[in-house]
């Protein structure tokens, strides 16, 4: 599935909810289901700083040429948001990740979570995901 198809899938999923509570319950559920990041990656090097909720992000280039992300957060709502980001961006080609427009966040009415004033680390995480992808891409081309 392309990044766009995955975004559409999430938008359709959220269309089923008619109030904010169901939406948040779903996000919390997603947060709980996010596969745990292996302890060796939950390091200070992988932490995204300056946030109220801490975010850890690890990226690796698989032999198949896609970027695989794992991540974690100490806040469950942030973790649910992370789960959606990973679902959309993980195991995609680096150039597609770097140029992705994550419009689904707006469309499911959660844009406020990507506001720089939220300091929940999500925005920095997306930046970091794109940064890793650019770096892998440069390495591939180099």
């Amino acid at each position: 599935m392309t990044i766009e198809q995955r975004q559409q899938e999430i938008i359709e999923e959220f269309a089923l909810f008619d109030d904010w509570m169901q939406k948040y319950e779903h996000i919390i559920e997603l947060g709980k289901e996010l596969p745990v990041i292996s302890a060796e990656y939950k390091t200070d090097d992988n932490i995204i700083k300056g946030c109220q909720s801490r975010v850890w992000l690890h990226a690796e280039m698989l032999n198949s040429g896609v970027v695989h992300f794992t991540a974690d957060s100490d806040a469950i709502i942030t973790k649910g948001m992370i789960a959606m980001m990973i679902r959309v961006l993980s195991d995609q080609a680096p150039e597609d990740i770097a140029s992705a427009d994550l419009h689904f966040v707006n469309e499911i009415g959660l844009h406020q979570h990507l506001s720089p004033t939220r300091s929940n680390g999500l925005l920095s995480m997306i930046k970091q995901m794109k940064f890793y992808s650019l770096a892998f891409q440069a390495k591939n081309n180099g």
Binding site: Q52, S53, R54, A75, I76, I77
Partner: protein, 406 residues
């Protein structure tokens, strides 16, 4: 005094009457900044629509009106603190006032090896300015530790005073926990060893009457926006003799008596520390805010807030896993808490969905949070206009959020 009429008070704060996320707004982030009554808002708009002009210079009518209003606000503030008007310096806020003292009095008087005592409850703005001076002049900062109930360890304070610090700088009320510090005792003990004392009153002025002469502190600072006044304006009180001996800081217009290419001489107090065109509108409106507070009476406000705080504290304990952070006997209307297993950010996000505005995080007191071994707290804080019904909504919201997250 007439009866404390919450309806009449709320009418003066139209901002409170709105929906957030389709629910009535319950504003409980008052320790960060409280809302402004119509009197203050109208005062600002009236200034700009009727008599704005630059002050202290023009010979014309509007300049005279503006100057009189600005200086009248200074007098209101001076009377409120029991100070002389030359001792009242307008600043941008608490942070600005502390930096002024650090960069003038501090840089001049704090020498290599001198000690500065601050408390473990300080806001970053009463820590970093001293770290900056300490780094430059080679001073040592000692911290009065915080006990598990959120009070200061006064026995350690006594020991720190034996090392003869030059300066003691503490807050009157902790912004993160609401602890009311025994500043009477802190000041008198510091005075016994001739230490200079700065009190950060940011969290105190909207709850307590302050008499700087009786306190006998050398400096007292606060922000307008925490006493129902505007942002961008604050006050530094300093004892006259100390302010006179202090070098000027910012240079420019207003602060000089005469200037040539070779030299300048500084203006008299308080203008010596007020370089440039000041924040005239907000200065005038701060005077108005203080009149507003005095019209309700700080004792009446505190009694009302105490009722809300007590009720909310008791009811919060109904929530499973509730952990109150800061349980000092003397507290203002701040409740900091955590719920076992839940991150403050998650709770704050869901409370916001429920229309309840609280603050989450370290509240600009990172070292305190580290000392307590917590990532931050959820902080609810009440003001003169909050109601028992809002306490109900808050408690129900906390229960709901906690259910959803568990």
């Amino acid at each position: 005094m007439t009866e404390y009429s919450i309806e009449r008070i709320r009418e003066q704060f139209p901002i409170l009457n709105q929906q957030v996320n389709n629910r009535p707004l319950v504003y409980l982030d008052n320790a960060a900044s409280n809302q402004k009554p119509n009197a203050v808002v109208d005062c600002i708009s009236n200034y700009y629509t009727s008599y704005h002009a630059n002050i202290h210079r023009g010979a014309h009518h509007l300049a005279q009106l503006a100057t009189e209003a600005y200086e009248n606000a200074r007098t209101i503030i001076a009377n409120h603190l029991n100070a002389h008007r030359e001792e009242i310096i307008f600043t941008y806020g608490t942070t600005d006032g502390i930096n002024l003292v650090a960069q003038t009095w501090g840089r001049k008087n704090l020498k290599q090896g001198d000690r500065i005592v601050i408390s473990g409850l300080e806001h970053h703005s009463n820590l970093v300015p001293w770290q900056m001076v300490a780094e430059e002049n080679g001073c040592i900062i000692d911290i009065i530790p915080v006990l598990s109930d959120g009070t200061l360890d006064m026995a350690v304070y006594d020991q720190l005073l034996e090392k003869k610090p030059k300066l003691v700088a503490v807050n009157q009320v902790s912004n993160s926990l609401g602890t009311v510090n025994p500043i009477g005792e802190i000041i008198s003990k510091a005075k016994n060893i001739n230490a200079c004392v700065l009190i950060d009153g940011a969290q105190a002025v909207s709850h307590f009457e302050v008499d700087v002469k009786q306190l006998d502190c050398d400096f007292y600072v606060f922000s307008g926006h925490k006493i129902y006044g505007p942002t961008g304006i604050g006050v530094l009180y300093g004892k006259k003799a100390i302010l006179e001996a202090m070098p000027a800081w910012r240079g420019g217009g207003e602060m000089i008596k005469s200037v040539s290419y070779q030299s300048f001489s500084v203006n008299e107090l308080p203008y010596k520390f007020e370089a440039g065109t000041p924040n005239i509108a907000d200065g005038i409106a701060l005077g108005r805010a203080i009149e507003f507070v005095n019209s309700l009476g700080l004792n009446a406000i505190r009694a009302h807030e105490n009722l809300l705080t007590k009720t909310a504290t008791q009811r919060l304990l109904e929530v499973p896993g509730m952990r109150l952070i800061g349980t000092a006997a003397e507290k203002t209307s701040v409740i900091s808490f955590l719920i076992d297993g839940l991150h403050p950010y998650d709770v704050g996000t869901l409370l916001d969905q429920l229309g309840v505005a609280v603050r989450t995080g370290h509240h600009c007191t990172e070292p305190l949070m580290n000392a307590l071994g917590i990532p931050g707290t959820i902080r609810a804080s009440f003001a003169c206009y909050n109601t028992l019904k809002e306490v109900d909504i808050f408690i129900e919201a906390v229960k709901k959020a906690s259910q959803m997250l568990s």
